[in-house]
Symmetry: C2
Subunit: 336 residues, 2 copies
């Protein structure tokens, strides 16, 4: 295990093969050198890329084994955790990372505790327990993070918003997309913790391509505000239907902003009232995705109306709608 | 559209390019000549094949776009229906085909009516409506079939247990598996309407391979009884948890039996009391699948105990557990 984690902020270098979810001195996100390339653990990755029409395609990341792109990060992190000798795992999550952690922990024979905010999707909470993890509900996303941190001494902490291992796993998506689209393509990507955005950015760079990255955020977690060009804002609200886009202060925010700006992209904020229509658009095209994923369809419409959507475009569809049956039914029927 | 449908039982040949869900004279299943090879409609197919351990692998068909292998058949049938000029679709289904039809109808701009038995999974019913189809509940699986038939004059009837188009779509799974496993491999496959079993059988043959096919059935729909070698029977029951294995008299039963016997295989019947354990086994290995799919794990155990499982084995995991969150949670906790 010849990897080394180090802190770009304060310079700390950990011992070879030592894992920490963040810098032990300044708590900043760590970087990694010499991480191994690992194959899929449970068939994650290699998801379909299909036509949406008008030069737009959709990357169906929701068809990963636990129903979200998080499987790329969880698969990689937990395989490495297992190789490092850990036998237990903790994570705090708004839902998808929690389920992914539960599924991959089961797969790899690790015990998992998952801390979720109370407002996480009921379907996801039930599935996390079904997959065999212990579920702990917290008052908020931040409280869930504090509770998980308290257990991070004994167990492997997935810590997806900071961990360079999780990011390394998600990079496989960027490498994959680099083989599927030309340089200069635009990618619309929901951005909360930033692992998806940064994983794509790094993976694409590594493969020698350049994509324009447009982040899609909720008004309730508009972390990129003032840091990158605002290409559209469909209104405000509390982001009630966007329960996978809750992280208001992602630890890699500076890097997220630099990636967006460097790529020539920007951010679109999707207000609450635009979500039901976006979900119906997605369903009409056959995409059974969760509302937080459907937000990219609202962003697409905004960019089209403004005439600022050139050339090839890819929508990253992040999470499965199968976890949201009742909500989708109501949205589909126009009852919300 | 140079295809012709004909009846192997009574000899009727339809006009070139004419579709009927079954023979207009004897109501038997039709065969097809000259069907076109069509690509995926929404990224269906090319599902992961992953290790289970001990020479056993799992084909993750539940990662198709609507969460089941049915997408292969629905994608093919409905693309062809669209090419033939139909603008509406009907289907009767215990759930998965209904959802698949709803999703692919939305994708292709077709109106869909889906007839399901009342005992179909609540999650699936909700999702069928969410995907934009009209859902009609019937007293039983048979009653759903009668209601759909009454509408089959105006609209394209998916009729998956008889239609040679649906079977043609599912054949892509057999061709795919033929490229992933050696001749002589054993395949454990849930068998209800028979399209999965026959699709694999025909696709594998077409690719010049031979797999031994072992059908897995519910005691409530043990259609192969007395027709093929019974390799195991774990007990009886009403098949309450096996709601995707409801069809007691599949129209292609004779052909199903010949395929199993010709392949050197047999049938394993999974009784009610074996299902919860099978679901827990599946979840422990990271497979979020529905109980009807998990039945193959119970069958695997029976075959292992009897020492009749030679060489390479593939379990076909047919349907997603994301549609069964609450039920899986109860099964996982041992409450059922």
């Amino acid at each position: 295990m010849g990897f080394v984690l180090w802190c770009p902020r304060c310079g700390v270098r950990l011992r070879e093969g030592e894992y920490r979810p963040w810098c032990p001195r300044c708590k900043g996100p760590l970087e990694a050198e010499g991480l191994p390339r690992l194959g899929p653990v449970l068939g994650e990755g290699s998801t379909p890329l299909v036509e949406v029409g008008g030069g737009v395609r959709a990357k169906m990341e929701y068809l990963n084994p636990s129903g979200s792109f998080k499987d790329r990060g969880a698969g990689y992190s937990l395989r490495l955790a297992s190789m490092l000798g850990y036998d237990c795992v903790v994570v705090d999550s708004s839902g998808n990372t929690g389920l992914s952690t539960a599924v991959y922990s089961a797969r790899l024979g690790l015990r998992a505790r998952v801390f979720v905010p109370r407002r996480a999707s009921p379907g996801k909470k039930v599935l996390i327990r079904a997959a065999g993890a212990e579920l702990v509900e917290a008052a908020s996303r931040e409280e869930a993070a504090r509770l998980a941190e308290a257990e991070a001494e004994r167990c492997f902490h997935v810590a997806h918003p900071t961990s360079p291992l999780f990011l390394e796993g998600v990079k496989s998506l960027g490498r994959e997309m680099a083989g599927e689209a030309r340089s200069g393509s635009t990618v619309l990507v929901p951005a909360s913790s930033g692992t998806l955005l940064l994983g794509i950015y790094r993976g694409v760079k590594e493969a020698g391509r350049d994509f324009r990255l447009i982040a899609v955020q909720s008004p309730a977690a508009y972390s990129l505000k003032g840091l990158v060009p605002e290409l559209g804002l469909t209104g405000g609200g509390e982001g009630k239907l966007l329960d996978a886009l809750l992280l208001a202060r992602p630890p890699r925010l500076g890097e997220m902003a630099r990636a967006v700006v460097d790529s020539g992209g920007g951010v679109v904020v999707v207000g609450d009232e635009a979500v039901p229509g976006a979900v119906r658009t997605a369903l009409r095209k056959g995409f059974l995705i969760e509302p937080s994923s459907a937000a990219v369809f609202a962003a697409l419409e905004v960019l089209r109306e403004k005439g600022i959507l050139p050339g090839d475009t890819i929508l990253v569809l992040t999470g499965s709608g199968l976890k949201y049956a009742s909500l989708l039914e109501k949205l589909s029927a126009g009852a919300i």
